[in-house]
Symmetry: C2
């Protein structure tokens, strides 16, 4: 199933996406309720092309599980002219939920920076049930489904600043969507990042340094994960600059495409 959250007029609802091979044929079946609580499928149908897709959830907490791929860790170390330092255990960072936007929303390059930002295509894991102290074996039972994140970064600030506040958490820096796909294996996704149609990254979620169950198991030892909380699982490359006018797409097999345009702050 593909769960989307969408707006028609002033109303926000969840829905199930069907036949999404093309925007023309795709249909959204409106649902009363949400994937995180009781829900009921209604008789109302919308053409996907005629609704506004929203981020599938605004989580209480958005975790970022980076660095979680050797390629990204080594690429970032090279940019800094340092040897790579491999993490000893899975330790997430936090991202601002205020920076979340949906698919087709614009990524705004702040006036204060040098004019470019950088993408990080990531698998997004959406928690469906309260998880505290769960075993590695049971961890995926607490996941409702998978989506796509783009952990937009401003590398100059990432180098110069003490914290990641400006480098990672400016308004619009967290594209997330287009929907949540259920009943999939998180070790088997192919993740492709396309910049103006050119492939910048093409990697497998099987190459994570720690797999998704290990992250959930380790995190839940000290922090409860709540329904709707989201973990972004890291990226492989250390990609180039995006400037206003560019289009960035993150595609994940069996999920869909998260597409955003880059614009300048006006």
């Amino acid at each position: 199933m593909k769960w989307c959250r969408f707006q028609t007029g002033q109303r926000v609802s969840y829905g199930l996406v069907e036949d999404d091979k093309s925007a023309e044929s795709a249909v959204v079946i409106e649902v009363d309720g949400s994937p995180f609580a009781e829900h009921r499928i209604t008789a109302t149908r919308h053409s996907l092309g005629r609704i506004k897709l929203l981020p599938p959830i605004i989580p209480r907490v958005l975790y970022a599980a980076g660095p979680n791929y050797r390629g990204h860790l080594e690429g970032m170390a090279k940019r800094r002219g340092e040897p790579p330092r491999y993490p000893a255990r899975p330790e997430p960072k936090l991202r601002s939920v205020n920076a979340i936007i949906g698919t087709d929303d614009d990524i705004v390059v702040p006036k204060e920076c040098a004019g470019a930002v950088q993408p990080e295509g990531q698998l997004a894991v959406v928690i469906g049930k309260t998880a505290r102290n769960v075993s590695r074996e049971d961890a995926l039972d607490y996941v409702v489904g998978y989506s796509i994140g783009n952990d937009i970064s401003q590398r100059d600030w990432q180098r110069s600043d003490r914290t990641l506040f400006r480098a990672k958490n400016c308004d619009t820096f967290k594209p997330f969507g287009p929907w949540i796909a259920t009943d999939l294996d998180p070790a088997k996704f192919r993740i492709i990042v396309r910049h103006n149609g050119t492939v910048w990254e093409d990697f497998s979620s099987g190459d994570q340094i720690w797999d998704t169950p290990t992250w959930i198991h380790e995190m839940s030892k000290t922090a409860t994960l709540h329904p709707g909380d989201v973990l972004w699982m890291g990226t492989q490359g250390a990609d180039g600059d995006m400037v206003p006018g560019d289009v960035i797409e993150v595609e994940i097999s069996s999920i869909g495409v998260l597409r955003n345009r880059v614009v300048a702050q006006t």
Copy 2:
């Protein structure tokens, strides 16, 4: 005014606290709505001692403005055996809203750590209106009021880990309350931290490296602050260990007392 959020039975409401000189005399007047939206004072009154105070808000984003006092920065550097490194500009970090608890709730020391945690008494600034690109002069117009935070930390993990996930964001590590006090000057608070009744810190919010309007002005250049978002303004000292059985209090003049007991994870 003092705005509290409280629970009676299954119901959660906001209220105004009156005559809080003693728990016996204090009264809470129930309010329909919240300080962040339209509201109406009702005729319902509760004795403060007979309701359960909740954290005054669970923000979308909880920011921590540390290091923001020279004493803390120098004390922490000394613990690490390094010279202090003064920040060049105000840069917040993020804290997990899942770790927030209210006054009188227990701080739980995780099984995984060596058995002690450390307090950081902080002024909490609660945003009341959407703030984007606001001037230093206008910044306080966007604040609805002030509360108290205790940024519980686990210093071993703060030293050993790559991120602050375990050091700062375990369940129960963010006591916040008891309520939001309005119409006060954020440069004039006296902040006292008491450990089992002994004063560990006694400092003034006037000693912040950057004052509250400067933080709001600088942050709002790249990130919108939303009603209910909360900024914790840093602490002065680098205090000692708290172990199960201890009671930690943070008192801020004209606001009140945030009091929590420390317990071991069972």
